[in-house]
Amino acid sequence: MLAWIPGLPLAAFAVLILVGRRLGRASAWVSVAALASSAFLTLQLTPHVLDGQRLAVSWRWLSATDPAWFLGLAVDRLSWVMLVLVTVIGTLITIYSIGYMQDDARFSRFFAYLSLFCAAMLGLVMANHFVLLYACWELVGLCSYLLISFWFEKPEAARAGRKAFLTTRVGDTGLLIGILALWVTAGQLHLGRLEEIRTFFVLRDQTWWLTIISTLIFLGAVGKSAQIPLHVWLPDAMEGPTPVSALIHAATMVAAGVYLVARTLPLFTPESLRLVLWIGLATHLFAGTVALTMTDIKRVLAYSTISQLGLMMTALGLGAASSAMFHLSTHAFFKALLFMAAGSVIHATHRQDLRELGGLGRHLPWTRALFLIAALSMGGFPLLSGFWSKDAILLSAREHAPWLMWTLLGGAAVTAGYIFRLYLRCFHGSPVASGCGTPHDSPAVMILPMAALGLGAAFAGFAGPGVFHVHGGLDVPMLISSSVALSIGVTLAFAVGLKRRVLVPAVLRPLGTKLYRLAANKYYVDEAYQRWIIGPFLDATAWLSRFDRRIIDGAVDAAGLGGWRIGQWKERFDRVVIDGIVNGIALVTRSIGHVVRRAQTGVIHHYLFWVVAASVMLMLWIRAVSA
């Protein structure tokens, strides 16, 4: 029965890719039905999983190795959370896409890719073996490429898809090397036996192998979850259709990295966990400040996702896997909702630059309300879901080191700042002449899934203690401090973002401008890559090309010339000696033939004469002999 969960979306993909064109509009509902059935099956597993059971199905795949490889699917608490996220949010996003993509020429193709994306993600989280996980991991990467560059007619979209694929490949290669290293050293790739592997290395006093392997696995997660320094693909991925962005940011692609680290946490040593912590923290703060300066709605959301993923990685670095997964789940709800709301705005106005938007609250009441819920949840408004998960992480940080908690609180203020800047600039303030009539709310097929997500964004946090076993109850000091951080962020967003009040003292203004420019240019990471990595790479290729042309080609040409010379000499030899022999034989034969053919006159009398004469001679000879 477990195989049905990824199997149904996979079947939907097969059906749509084969006969999707004929199905037309109905193809969307094939996809929705498959995902909804998977969601239903997943929810049926709930009681077993909450009892702490581990459901598994596996089959012998490769028996030539020792031990034999049993590939299969397994569901424990961690996978189950991911399954719920992927199936439920995937279903809602698919329904939303029906409205968003209604005029697209490749309607059914879009839903085919969407189904495959979900199937790959489901396979990834259910895989019980590193090989199967890696296969699904690559499949997720492929689907992200297909979907980000879905509108490949736009050069930016094609470029963005390629960038996403190549950037994540860097991380994937790390993951692959890590898996191979694990196989070579421990000879065990089963995901259910990670503790055994750890003990294996610890007993042999080879924990440095664990550090290397876990760092490599983390590299894969860095690529997929867009952590520094491989985060550059995610903002560009906004070129894809908005539902794709929602799916990537909420439930599938970027969640895969967090899931991978959470899943393989037993392999991580204190050293590699410190690396995870630092990278996560740096990403959290870096992306948050960039998000404050972006003017494109979807880019703000993209950097916000990077930032939140950094927060999750920080939690993982603290070893608090359950807090990280909790935040991943709540984040999935409010981030999917934010993207859908942004998509709704874009759908209504055909604009996505904040400088051209404003005062939309009147025209899009539903969108505005849902956006507000999501923003409050993200900012950590008390009792909304984001509040619970963020506080869980903050509490873990407080146990670890107080400075870390204060840093994260600063990050929370930044988070609240950028998200409310976005909200206020979009829905409040003076309306900017949009020029395309009065915008109006999206159709019900888009609003209803958003409303369902809104419920999740508001109340998913109450599942925390039951499902994730995080700290239950309210921690009053933490409540107060995080609320203060939220208020600071909102106030600043209102004052600076909306009212354009200048708060920086005149003395510090040049420094502030400099900092702003630094953040607005995304800390020049892309430029640095262009200058320090891509540029030298291209120079090297140009140099190699010159080398090829001059030296290799020269050698090849010289060899060719030599071969040609030898060929010419051999040709002469052939012509004079070999042909001479052959022609000589032919000449001799022909001259013999010339002589002999005289006898063949064609005149019957000659033939008869010789026949008779020969017969007479023969008879005379016989007679002479017998006499």
Partner: protein, 160 residues
């Protein structure tokens, strides 16, 4: 006595057949030879064979030959010398062959057998032999006739 006469007729006719320039006359000489041979058959007591010889050779084959000569007369009459220039080698070879055959056959004499030369073979005995002892060659000859007939028609019929 009559045997000698017939032999002389046959040999003279045969010389005419191969030496006369006019092909029509040569054909008539062949008729003379054929009739002479039929006479020799009679002296040997083969009356049936003699009649068959007259009927088939003189009546049918010779008629065909004459037809053919007349049909191709335009070609033959335009030809001045019908006898070729390879006469001397032909004379030598055929003379040698004649001498050889004579030297072989000159010693042959009729055997003194009891049943020998005791009158004619009856037609009924001949017929009996053809459908009993010689039934296989007889049938083969029949098939040969059919094949020759079809072949002659096929070769001679004008097809364009």
């Amino acid at each position: 006595m009559i045997t000698w006469l017939l032999c002389a007729v046959v040999v003279v006719g045969a010389v005419w057949v191969v030496s006369l320039r006019n092909l029509f006359r040569a054909a008539l000489s062949l008729g003379l030879v054929l009739v002479g041979v039929a006479g020799l058959f009679l002296t040997l007591g083969a009356e049936f064979l003699a009649f068959v010889q007259i009927l088939i050779y003189v009546g049918a084959v010779l008629t065909l030959v004459v037809f053919a000569i007349m049909l191709t007369s335009r070609a033959t009459s335009a030809e001045p010398a019908d006898v070729s220039r390879y006469r001397l080698p032909a004379v030598i070879v055929s003379g040698a062959l004649f001498g050889l055959l004579l030297s072989v056959t000159s010693t042959l004499r009729p055997p003194a057998l009891p049943g020998a030369s005791e009158g004619a073979v009856t037609v009924s005995a001949l017929g009996q032999a053809l459908v009993t002892t010689f039934v296989l060659p007889f049938e083969v000859i029949s098939v040969l006739f059919v094949a020759a007939m079809v072949g002659a028609i096929a070769v001679a019929s004008a097809k364009k």
